[in-house]
Each structure stands twice: as C-alpha cells, then as structure tokens.
C-alpha cells in the first residue's frame, strides 16, 4: 500500500508553490530543488492544472502558482486527482468476476469503509499545514527572496 510517485511529487510541487506564495514558481527551479526532470514535473502538472489546483502563466517570465489559497487545498484534493485508482482489491473492479465470492463477501465494503477513514483524515490536512514553516522551507528549497519571476496579473 503506497501512494504513487505522481502523488508524492504533486504534493511537493504544491508545497513549493505555497512556500513561494505571491510569486510564480519556475519549473526548472522546482525540478532542481527536488532533483527530478522537468518533463516529469510537466506530466504531473497537467492533471493539477485541469483540476485548478495550479495555474500556469506562459511566457519568458511565466511559471506556476496555486489555483487557490494553500489552506483551501487538502491532501484529499490532491490524491483524488493524482492517484490512478482507489480499487483496493480486484473486487472493487467490474471485471473481478473470477472470484466466486464476489457477490457474497463483505471484504469490498470493509475496505471501502477503511479507505473512507483514510480519506477523511486527508481532508483535514491542507497544503498550508504542510508548508507552515515557510522561511525554513524557502531556505531548504533554495527559493531566493527576490524571485526571478513575478506574478503577472
């Protein structure tokens, strides 16, 4: 049981943007901070942009910023966008007909209840909660006080 790498880095991108609030974050700098490729980050950004968790500004001074305040983006908001599947077992899926117990087993409902409890906790934690120590985070992520790109309104 593990979150995907996509989810992990989606949360990191959002934390970077939260630490760099009020300014645009440039992908090459985010990629350098986390030692991953820009291409990988672009792939992860796509669903985040579609879900309006992140906004992009194009152009030479472009970059990304949070789509809404960090305290209004929960970990659940991220996970529902970035996790490919919440099928905890094959009996969550329509084509799981190979298990003879599919219609008379309570495993599916027990796992759903457990998954709901998991998600309920994620709803309580926001990106702002994760990025509370902003000064320290900016230092760790090597975000300069004078950011290279300003927010274009």
């Amino acid at each position: 049981m593990r979150l995907t790498r996509q989810t992990n880095y989606a949360i990191r991108i959002l934390m970077y943007c939260a630490a760099n609030e009020g300014r645009l974050s440039r992908i090459p700098e985010v990629a350098a901070a986390y030692s991953v490729s820009e291409l990988f980050l672009f792939k992860i950004l796509q669903p985040l942009v579609e879900a309006k968790l992140v906004e992009t500004v194009r152009g030479r001074n472009g970059g990304v910023r949070l789509g809404r305040p960090a305290d209004q983006i929960s970990l659940f908001d991220v996970v529902r966008v970035t996790e490919e599947s919440f099928a905890m077992a094959e009996c969550f899926e329509n084509d799981a007909a190979d298990c003879p117990l599919i219609d008379s087993c309570n495993l599916n409902s027990a796992l759903r209840e457990a998954l709901n409890a998991f998600m309920t906790v994620l709803m309580k934690h926001s990106i702002a909660d994760l990025a509370r120590d902003r000064t320290n985070m900016r230092a760790l992520l090597n975000i300069s006080e004078i950011a290279p790109a300003r927010v274009a309104n």
Copy 2:
C-alpha cells in the same frame, strides 16, 4: 493505492477455512475454488502459518485450518502479515534523504494519521464477518458437506 495480491488471496484462504470450519481444507481444492496455482497459495500460506493465523496438518489427509476462531482474526491481523510495506511515501523510509524537505514537512505525520485511521477500521472487521453467510459460501466455493479430509486431533 492498492493491497497486494498476496493480501487479497490470504484473505480468501482464510475465508475458505472459515467456511469450512471444523474440517481441514486441502490446498488443491482451495486453489481450484479460486482458479490459482497451488504453488502461489503455498507461498501465501507461509507467512500466515508463521503468524499462527493458519495451522497446517501434514500427510495424505492433511490440509489447513484457521489458527484461531474466525472472529478473532481481524483484517488488520492479515494485512500486517501480508503487506510488504506501509511506507505510504518515500519519506517514510530511512533512505529518503533526496527530498530536501524531509525534516521540515508534515506530510509523513499526516499520512501516518490517515494510515492509522485505515487500520483502525480493519481491526473492527474479522474473517468471521466476511464469511457470515456460510451456507452460501460453501456452495460458491464448491465445498462439499462431506469434506474429503477431517480434522485430525
């Protein structure tokens, strides 16, 4: 996020034994009921036997049975034995030093809290809960009323 195939079949083996309570369940019959190989089931049985969730009886009339009553085996008891890792993200692991935020991020504790909520639900559900409709289960699993192997005391 998904449970491993090992966990899925461990639960199914235990459900088979619960449906066949008072008798030994033979691996070829369990394998046939779930359309998997005997070798795969033997691999899954090993940690279940070590954790005393299942007992094996050797010999021509041998087989497996639950190590304790089905209502005393929770889904949590199974999952803790069969899941390889509960590292929800790489920052759960000691060698996750590649994330610069490792010491100043609350993601790890948020995910731990969510995982605890998940496990707390699994603790409330037993193998007996899953296998409550015993008559129907026996029919679905093709367990005959006169079992080929009796419990050897």
